[in-house]
């Protein structure tokens, strides 16, 4: 009977297996072709440590900003009944499509010294953003925040409105309600959105190299390091990628098992 059952499921299992294989085979190939013998050497190069540290730093700062800005934004989008909300939502989605390099150019046009805001920033505050670690973080926020907002807004829309109302009758204003009721209640959604956004920020390349350049230790994140190494020392690039994969599987796996259903 079991075999009959298996045959009946084949039209589902076959394409699903192809799908898995399609994604997993290249990862396996990376593993197979990795220069395991010299992995230690590759990873001990200062560039590797430096760029991984910088990636850890910038993606952490990015997540702080994404949480701080994106969570209230998602909440307002989720609860707004204004007809313009749909537009706001569409605008937030756009950076998903923009080629990252163009995103970097757009950031330069905004925050560069001659940019729409950058000139004013420099003349009044004396701050120049391009080529700084701050620029890396900005580029990562720009590409990662849409993933977060779209995903978190979805969970927030699922939150029963009556919880907000009850909190209000108990004396909690909008901010207190947001902080003590909404955020704790949608934590799983926030975790899922954070995973997507963090993954996107960690892999970010195009906007960063354009807006922030590739200065080792200051703006050369792991993907930029991978790119730089790819020419001279592809095995080091692959080793660095494997470390990124490992880190992200661990981080995502931990998140998933703790938060995601």
């Amino acid at each position: 009977m079991t075999t009959r059952r298996a045959v009946a499921r084949l039209p589902l299992v076959a394409p699903a297996s192809v799908g898995v294989a399609f994604v997993v085979l290249p990862l396996l190939a990376l593993l197979i072709r990795a220069d395991w013998a010299h992995l230690g050497t590759h990873l001990s190069s200062p560039v590797v440590g430096q760029s991984l540290r910088l990636s850890a730093l910038t993606t952490s700062l990015t997540m702080v900003a994404v949480w701080g800005l994106g969570t209230p934004l998602a909440w307002l989008l989720a609860r707004s009944e204004h007809p313009l909300t749909a537009w706001g939502r569409a605008l937030i989605t756009v950076p998903l499509v923009l080629p990252p390099v163009v995103g970097g150019v757009a950031l330069l046009m905004t925050w560069g010294r001659r940019g729409v805001l950058g000139g004013w920033l420099e003349s009044t505050l004396g701050v120049t953003l391009p080529f700084t670690t701050a620029a890396v973080v900005m580029a990562e926020i720009f590409v990662a925040m849409p993933f977060y907002v779209i995903s978190v807004e979805g969970s927030m829309r699922g939150l029963d409105r009556r919880f907000d109302e009850i909190a209000a009758t108990l004396g909690a204003g909008p901010v207190r309600t947001f902080r003590t009721v909404v955020v704790p209640m949608v934590l799983p959604g926030i975790a899922a959105g954070s995973a997507l956004a963090w993954a996107r920020a960690l892999g970010e390349f195009g906007a960063t190299i354009t807006f922030a350049g590739s200065f080792p230790g200051r703006t050369q994140t792991a993907p930029l390091g991978v790119y730089a190494a790819l020419e001279r020392d592809p095995q080091a690039a692959i080793a660095l990628s494997l470390v990124m994969l490992l880190v992200s599987v661990v981080v995502l796996g931990a998140l998933r098992s703790r938060w995601l259903r």
Partner: protein, 361 residues
Amino acid sequence: MSAEVFLDARVEVVLGGFRADVALARGRGVTALLGPNGSGKTTVLKALAGLHTLTSGHVRVAGRAWAGDVRHLPPEERAVGMVLADPLLFPHLSLLDNVAFGPRSRGMPRASARARAAEELGRVGLADLAGRRPSEVSQGQAQRAALARALATDPELLLLDEPLSALDPQTRSATRADLAHRLREFPGATVLVTHDPLDALTLADQLVFVEDGRVVQAGTPTEIIARPRSRYVAGVVGLNLVHGTLAPGTPATLALPGGGELVVAEVPAGAGAGDELLATINPAAVTLYTAPPEASARNLWQLDVAAVTVTGQRARVRLHGIPGTDLVAEVTLGAVAQLGVSPGARLWAGVKATEVAVYPA
């Protein structure tokens, strides 16, 4: 329960195509708000809480204006407590922190808020479960915690929206006792929305019936049981209600709007032919027969069974066929079997004239 007006409100709210306009002027104590689905009970409660903005009207509680022509206090600035059918406890907080949420939000330091919360939980018999998460307690316990939470902010106005309706019958009964007990101690005004006559009769000092956004009848439970003024109200207190015009001549007869008639034993003093009257018939006084009987019942109709519901060994049979009204009869389970009472069956129903109570419309 003092007699001075403590809650003085007229709330007019428009929601899409629906419009509620309800006035309440009450002292302290419990007011039950009853009405069919969609009649606007929840709308009124939310307006009192500040969750709907008034189109016009006002809300004054304990002499303070909460809402009026230019004023609309947001809910968090009103001394209000609210409990809905769902407990809606915050799932990420322990019962204690749920109850402490209100005091904390109103600025009490953490330690005092928790002490206060522990006290409130104790009052509803949940002292032992203070550390539990909402998912770890039963529904009845959760609803008691929700009540404690609403009361922990010392509200002046307590709003209860069908607080027992989501509980299973056994839990409901126990929770009703806790609620009654706790409400007796509560010094403010309570507005209790309910569909359950027992809640209304056992918990409230005053009943207000709304239909389609308007008050249709208000009074003490005793007044209402004796003289329901609408089909819905009669249904709540378990009676059949008939609206008719006193016909001339004897025996005293009500002409029913659909064309039938109802013979009654006595009419209110001073009633004359042509007066509009209301009549109630206790369902237990309706007798069912499979064939027209030779009996003393002065009122006899051939009717269709529309529906049967059973509680214990007793069945309530809804009958169709008197123009303009349905008649409910209450019979034993034995009779159901013996008479073949099932939806679609055709039966004779008799009511003695002496079993009809008549009063002015």
